[in-house]
Amino acid sequence: MRNVGIFDGSILIVDRSREYRHNSIVIAAINGELTCKILDLRNQQLVPANNEMKPIPIPDDTDLVLEGTVIHVIQENVKGNL
């Protein structure tokens, strides 16, 4: 998710109560695993920010997979200092 400023080791602040919007950066549970993607409501899919990975289609009931919206990103400059 480098294209949206999320790097290895970034800390994400997630709001579960926020309404989902088109292009929100979201946390989703896919195949039992938590993952971070961009929500494409128009095509009902989750899009990874880097172009190497393919979009993942999501069911109509988005609540089944969406865990929350990423509202802030904390970036670590010196490792292990938080």
């Binding site: 998710m1 109560s17 549970a29 039992g32 695993e33 938590l34 971070c36 609540d63 865990e67 938080l82």
Partner: protein, 417 residues
């Protein structure tokens, strides 16, 4: 109108929040020291696992059935509980937290037509904000709200929300519920009630309430009236039942030295006293016990009753008495496997009987205890009394503990991008 919001198998559900791979799968949580099973979700129950079963007896069965086992992680459960309570307060300004997994809320002033809707809304919001499944019971009294919650849990058709509205409908339910499920009716009372042919919640609500007072006490009369739909308890009141506190644990390894046994008992006294102060209770009687494993060749079980000079909740006073009692419990050559501290008769601070000849606790002792409780509530490293020792070989075994996802920055859930 009151609502009771109660989490479904709270501990097991907490373990699933940051593990979406476990949703819909059987999960069981073990007690302190991984002794026995204390929380099970529906899937684990369906796999035939029973609550309070000793873990070593069902370990193989759990493995075969694919039940996911966790040690208890009270840091996590406490934090999630807080979050659930916060969401409830978004919808109902007046709430009263009753335990780690349940809270009453006043629905006073809400329109009748919307009660069920509001219940469903709260349930949905709690799931959205915390991923905790809950059931909601709504009724004109707290005792009925408790029962409504019981119905919501047992009957899938309720969709997790039960509103006991019409009297006829309530009576029909009460006839189907055993009297032992009524709030404030314990095991002993159940036996006595059965003897006079009161078997269901309905029987209790329909009998002569004044006679109940004569035969039992005012508390049971209040319970019966509440079942009949007459509110007797305010939002923050609980049925002031006879309470006891027990802290009894199996050691992670056998204890054979006097010092270790005394340290363990001293530490259990501290936990028991913390619970006692939370209930605003005091005690004069303490039961202390220690025993070997029942499977041991040299079987030993000893318990002793200690009577304090005055009612107290002071850790120092009680731990000293317990330590003194340890001498008569200890026996050389015995492999101690478990010990416990019990307060059989907890009295509310309001009802203290003072003694003409005793002086009570030292001045300032109460302040010291409340300072201690406040410090320990917010720090993971606890302040303890020195007699509980530093080298705790007997201390809690938590082999299957999940990370402190929400309270430790080093244990945040990891996400793949």
């Amino acid at each position: 109108m009151f609502a009771l919001i109660d989490c479904n198998s709270m501990y097991a559900s907490c373990e699933q929040i940051f593990r979406p791979d476990l949703r819909g799968k059987p999960v069981a949580v073990l007690s302190n020291n991984d002794g026995c099973i204390v929380s099970l979700n529906e899937e684990a129950k369906a796999a035939g696992i029973q609550k309070f079963a000793p873990y070593f007896q069902v370990a193989d069965q759990c493995k075969m059935a694919g039940v996911n086992i966790f040690s208890s992680n009270y840091e996590l459960y406490g934090d999630i509980s807080n979050r659930v309570m916060c969401t409830i307060q978004d919808y109902c300004p007046e709430t009263s937290v009753y335990s780690i997994d349940e809270s009453f809320a006043s629905f006073h002033g809400f329109s009748h037509g919307d009660m069920r809707e509001t219940g469903l809304m709260i349930k949905k919001a709690i799931w959205r904000d915390t991923r905790m499944p809950v059931c909601v019971g709504i009724a004109p009294t707290k005792t009925l709200a408790k029962l409504a919650n019981h119905i919501a849990k047992k009957h899938p058709r309720s969709a997790g929300v039960c509103f006991l509205r019409e009297r006829d409908q309530t009576s029909a339910w009460l006839k189907r519920i055993d009297v032992s499920n009524v709030w404030g009716v314990g095991r002993q009372l159940t036996k006595q009630l059965r003897a006079i042919n009161i078997n269901t919640a309905y029987d209790l609500s329909a009998c002569d309430h004044r006679q109940l007072r004569r035969m039992f006490n005012v508390l049971l009369e209040a319970t019966a009236r509440e079942l009949a739909g007459v509110p007797c308890l305010e939002l923050h009141e609980a049925p002031p039942q006879h309470r006891s506190i027990m802290v009894s644990r199996a050691f992670s390894q056998k204890i054979t030295s006097y010092t270790d046994l005394r340290a363990a008992l001293s530490s259990y006294s501290q936990s028991a006293c913390e619970k006692l102060r939370r209930l605003q209770g005091v005690v004069t009687d303490v039961m202390v016990s220690a025993s070997s494993s029942p499977f041991d060749s040299k079987k030993h079980h000893a318990s002793i009753h200690v009577r304090l000079s005055h009612p107290t909740s002071n850790t120092m006073t009680i731990a000293t008495a317990v330590s003194n009692a340890c001498g008569s419990l200890f026996r050389d050559g015995v492999q101690f496997a478990r010990a416990g501290v019990m307060f059989p008769d907890v009295v509310h601070t309001k009802h203290i009987q003072t003694d003409l000849f005793s002086h009570g606790d030292k001045k300032g002792a109460e302040n010291l205890m409340s300072t201690l409780d406040k410090l320990n509530a917010h720090n993971s490293r606890k302040i303890t009394i020195a007699s509980s020792g530093l080298n705790r070989i007997w201390q809690t075994r938590r082999k299957f503990k999940s990370p402190d996802y929400t309270t430790n920055i080093d244990e945040l859930p990891m996400i793949r991008c």
